[in-house]
Subunit: 351 residues, 2 copies
């Protein structure tokens, strides 16, 4: 099975040039995303229906809508979130060298976000905004079937501008990870493309998560272009990849994406995932580690495990199993940041 | 077994005066306490030792200490807390009519605290401070043995002054619940005594939780006087009641407290609790509802269950079982606010 390295794909590790002659890379992955604090609340299906929310998806709300919705829900549990941020935190927890770029406001929630991502060892140096909207919040409604439905107030996170990007940080990493959600902000999208170009020109790779089927729907053409032109590793779940290629058939969508990027990792909840590369396809079984509690962060942690393996040159099947294992852990708890040691989990299950 | 009512103790409910002739009481319990947001983090015994923290207790820290400590811990999970606030939230979740008095700042954490206590149906109308210290935070270090060790920055909560007290609210309740932690603030203590006097003169009862052995140690004389002169229902755990009467023997402490207040409910972790009233003693078995995860809120939820029964005129053994059941639930999850329905729990276990 092929072993991968972002600097020399398709070559077994033994054929790599000695480290000294490669560009100095001090990070495995740098990620750009919305810096968000999650508010987890319990809700039932009737609540989703009453508020016109579509289960399992993410809806954008403005501050007034966010406050009205918050006033109508039960008590919450607050935890740092944000899709790419969860992935970078997961990579750091696994022992990878990770940095996150995203914008908070200098308020209490911004303090929580900054603390939590640094506390797991990820680098996070984007200066907090001193004025403007408050730190982004995502109200996550967890239904009894453990599904999560999200309402996001983007707040300060949409004010990430290209000039905020620390391009040196991007150059220091083997891989740049981008969340599709950023496409909802014109400024963040520009920052995103600029970073992808810098990463490619510095010899690294670009990974993208499609984030949400509705998000794909809003930006389909743009995402298709991006996948064809800039993306090495694509993450998508079944509804996202089907939305990207406007088909109801997973198999048809999988055939469509083949060859458009180096690797596509397609997740299918309890059916596990499928990793595609050229003509190869690696079906990955899911890990069931306990009772299903809350699916928040499942996709983010899949990407974390996968990219941790990928940037270490692991074979693609093992990358998929690492992703599957991390996703399997996070769905057994509330919230998207693992409460138990991912390192120990990997040692126990994947040696 | 004796049935209790705050307005006519020792009389079976059938002998109570018709409701119409009693003073109009629209609330079961009003509580005064520190309004706190908890930050739950995982820690090991070595961390406690390195920071000079005594397991299972609460230490007060100033803002700078709180920030230094926060910077040294792992990622957190934020949830509304505060001892009396947890109890009042629990009473409301059980279906009791509950109000809380305590002070937050008008900041993001204050918004979270206010939302969460109102979201379970408790009344909370204390105006938020517009200036001064930020909303109180408690860093709760949860060790692998599920014990919690707390470091509290009291922030805005210590600025609760007697003039902030809504005495009409106090008069509307059958019972006033006070947390011993308030004794650490001179102003709050004065507010506390004023409220107790108003409650007594309006025909209601006063309950006190001793909160923490070190807190008892700081204010022993004052607490003894309070128990003898103002308290109808006393809640204490083993180390607190032993500290109050400066003895190593639980039995000796239990003998000391007998008759000094109407009812003493003494909790003993996995040994259950002992409810004392006059010459009677009711040993209450603990409920083991699942794996022990985090003992945060165990005492607070015991008081919630107990007072919910007590203000409904239930017999003392059932009050104890209600307390024991609610405490048994909260220790199976992270944080002091039950994530599952206490009403359903009572229906399932105590009919």
């Amino acid at each position: 099975m092929a072993r991968f390295s972002p600097t020399a794909p398709h070559l077994p590790r033994s054929l790599l040039l000695p480290r000294m002659t490669l560009p100095t890379k001090t990070l495995d992955v740098v990620g750009i995303g919305n810096a968000i604090v999650d508010v987890l609340v319990q809700a039932d299906d009737a609540f989703l229906a009453d508020h016109g929310l579509s289960k399992g998806t993410m809806a954008l709300v403005d501050e007034a809508q966010a406050e009205r919705l918050y006033a109508s829900v039960g008590p919450g549990l607050e935890t740092s979130g944000g899709s790419a941020a969860n992935t970078l935190a997961g990579i750091a927890q696994l022992g990878g060298r990770a940095a996150f770029i995203g914008r908070v406001r200098n308020d209490q929630l911004g303090g929580i976000f900054s603390h939590d991502i640094r506390a797991v060892g990820a680098q996070f140096d984007t200066p907090a905004a001193n004025d403007g909207p408050s730190t982004a919040r995502c109200l996550i409604l967890v239904t009894p079937d453990a599904q999560r439905t999200m309402c996001t107030y983007l707040g300060a996170s949409v004010n990430l501008e290209p000039e905020d990007l620390d391009l040196d940080l991007v150059r220091q990493a083997h891989l740049l990870y981008l969340e599709g959600y950023l496409w909802d902000s014109e400024a963040a999208k520009r920052a995103f493309i600029a970073a992808a170009e810098v990463m490619r020109s510095s010899g690294g790779q670009v990974a993208l998560s499609l984030s949400d089927a509705f998000c794909v729907d809003r930006h389909r053409d743009s995402f298709q272009e991006l996948v064809d032109g800039h993306v090495d590793v694509l993450f998508a779940n079944e509804s996202e990849i089907c939305s990207l290629y406007q088909t109801d058939s997973f198999d048809a969508a999988a055939e469509q994406v083949r060859g458009r990027c180096r690797v596509a990792a397609l997740t299918r909840s309890e059916q596990g995932s499928l990793v595609l590369h050229g003509d190869e396809a690696f079906p990955i079984a899911p890990f069931r580690l306990g009772e299903l509690v809350d699916t928040t962060g499942a996709g983010d942690l899949y990407a974390a495990g996968f990219l941790y393996g990928y940037t270490r040159g692991e074979d693609l099947a093992r990358c998929g199993r690492l992703g599957s294992l991390c996703a399997g852990q996070v769905v057994t708890q509330l919230g998207p940041r693992p409460h138990s040691s991912l390192k120990e989990l990997v040692a126990a299950h994947l040696g």
